[in-house]
Subunit: 335 residues, 2 copies
């Protein structure tokens, strides 16, 4: 039977699951806020689905469940040392300092280090747009994408996310710099369907439409050499520049792509009002003109799902409910 519960009730359940798994109250709450946001926005790949991977990472001893992130400021650079914990608490501890630093200098960068990453970037971006800031975030992942013209996995699926404050919901995009997520290829494999041309290469570096060969090979970047260049920039800025693992190293040190990787993240925040007196009128005119053409602004599906969840609650499948109950009763023995 399906079950419908409020956003708050789902959040409480997820907090309890992570508390049972041994996370500190602050860690459990931050992870639960992120997972709940995914489920609330019908972004299933970052909702309840993520809990198992997090628990497996805890069980494998690859994350510090009690980490207390530390925050230091140096000029316009905010450094957050996640102390080997999950990313959400590190971000939450750093975000107010990033906002304050961006307001003071006009812009600021937050470099999160030594963090275990499993979340989408948009929940973070939205914490900054809610404070009237524009924000750009990026991080490496596991090497699973070949550079354009290359023959082997080297880059990660390296997400890039951006947000701009608006009345109501912000302008937000958040996407992988690979053509598709690895999970999409896996879904084709399970369905016994070929993947479209241009998604992947096989282990020999040849183009393939066979999902099994693709999973043994590498994904391709979105947008050909342009997307490949952007993905490379993410490795340079959000790994090399901040002294954290790049996607090759993240994969090497863990030796497993089913656990959450350890790497860093770079978040830039801009205070638009420090740049010009009224940055928002022209921005609204542009965004309304885009929507007025019938071109969908990014994140609109998420915002619609969120509005529905806020009034009608979140409906879980019997399988999802059973999984949550199992995690709640068995803790780390469930994974």
């Amino acid at each position: 039977m399906t079950q419908t519960l409020s956003i708050a009730a789902l959040f409480d359940t997820i907090v309890a699951i992570f508390a049972k798994a041994g996370l500190s109250p602050d860690q459990a709450a931050a992870v639960a806020r992120t997972v709940t946001a995914g489920e609330r926005d019908a972004c299933k790949s970052h909702g309840i689905y993520r809990i198992e991977g997090c628990l497996r990472t805890v069980k494998a001893g690859k994350v510090n469940p009690l980490a207390e992130p530390t925050v230091t400021v140096d000029g316009a650079i905010v450094r957050v040392d996640a102390q080997g914990g999950f990313a959400p608490l590190a971000f939450e501890r750093g975000a107010p300092v990033l906002a304050e630093t961006a307001r003071r200098h006009g812009l600021a960068a937050m470099a999160i280090g030594d963090c275990v990453h499993f979340s989408a970037l948009w929940p973070e971006i939205e914490q900054l747009t809610a404070q009237g800031l524009a924000a750009l975030a990026m991080c490496p992942s596991y090497s699973s994408v070949a550079p354009a013209g290359g023959i082997q996995a080297l880059l990660g699926t390296n997400p890039l996310a951006f947000g701009w404050p608006r009345p109501g919901n912000p302008y937000v995009f958040d996407f992988a710099t690979s053509v598709v997520a690895r999970g999409e290829v896996e879904l084709h494999r399970r369905a016994g369907k070929p993947i479209p041309e241009g998604w992947a290469i096989d282990a020999e570096g040849a183009a393939t439409t066979d999902p099994t060969a693709a999973l043994a090979g590498a994904l391709l970047p979105f947008g050909g050499h342009k997307g490949s260049a952007i993905s490379t920039m993410i490795e340079l800025l959000a790994a090399a520049m901040i002294g954290e693992n790049d996607s090759v190293t993240a994969r090497k040190v863990l030796g497993d792509m089913t656990l959450s990787p350890t790497h860093g993240e770079l978040v830039l925040a801009f205070d638009p009002r420090r740049f010009t007196a009224d940055p928002f009128t022209a921005a609204e005119a542009l965004l309304e003109a885009i929507a007025g053409q019938g071109a969908r602004l990014p994140s609109q599906r998420r915002f619609a799902a969120r509005a529905a969840a806020e009034t009608e609650g979140i409906t879980l499948t019997p399988d999802e409910t059973a999984r949550l109950e199992r995690f709640l009763s068995l803790g780390l023995d469930a994974v």
Copy 2:
């Protein structure tokens, strides 16, 4: 007959052309450095080819040939008021201040305003990487690109450029966020050839492979909705946020796409050594791994052309030589 001349000799000729056209010595030298760099790097679309458009813009009274850009610093924001002049001198005046501000705070933003833009971004990026900084630059242009899912030109071809310092030539990319430049469509039209699918839509918003219909319609962004989102971000950050024309406004105020547009530009600079003690060893390993796969790093063709130009000089076609001579003798009467 073809003519081969040294980089310095070509530079002197171009300076003389712009001096004859009425530019101040500093404006003429800055514009000439940019045009010479394009020709030197065999980036023909930004070399001698650009001179005529610049001269036409001067003749039309749409640029201040004697502009003295001003530079002010506010926190980590460097504001350059180009005073209606061409972009290169504004950039050159601001760049040392941007570099100093980035070193002081770890990162900084330069907002160039009221400038007439005709140049590629990579000559600017390379001025910053030469000082050991990473840099990200972007600007709007003329609205000629429809947002993904849209039916009309709204976004510009909005270039995005990034650089990372390396021993020898830096890592640099610089590309339009449209699938192709408008000039590519024009070349197909002249050759009587259809354009590939996915490049453009016609005036009714329908997909087209007819270059004439495409020129009356709109280009498409690279990489589908992802490239469209990045292009939109460029309008927000490098137009709305800095209080300068977006691509729609730039086209509207000039009413002509053959003259150089007036808008702003946003350049971010990062001092990698402020972020971590050794950002460069890991970066080199990554870039060498990419090149080691046979994947070409961006800008390699430019660097090869530059090396050749430095030893062998630059060879001009008879037509190019004739054009330079005409500009030199007739000044603005040549256009």
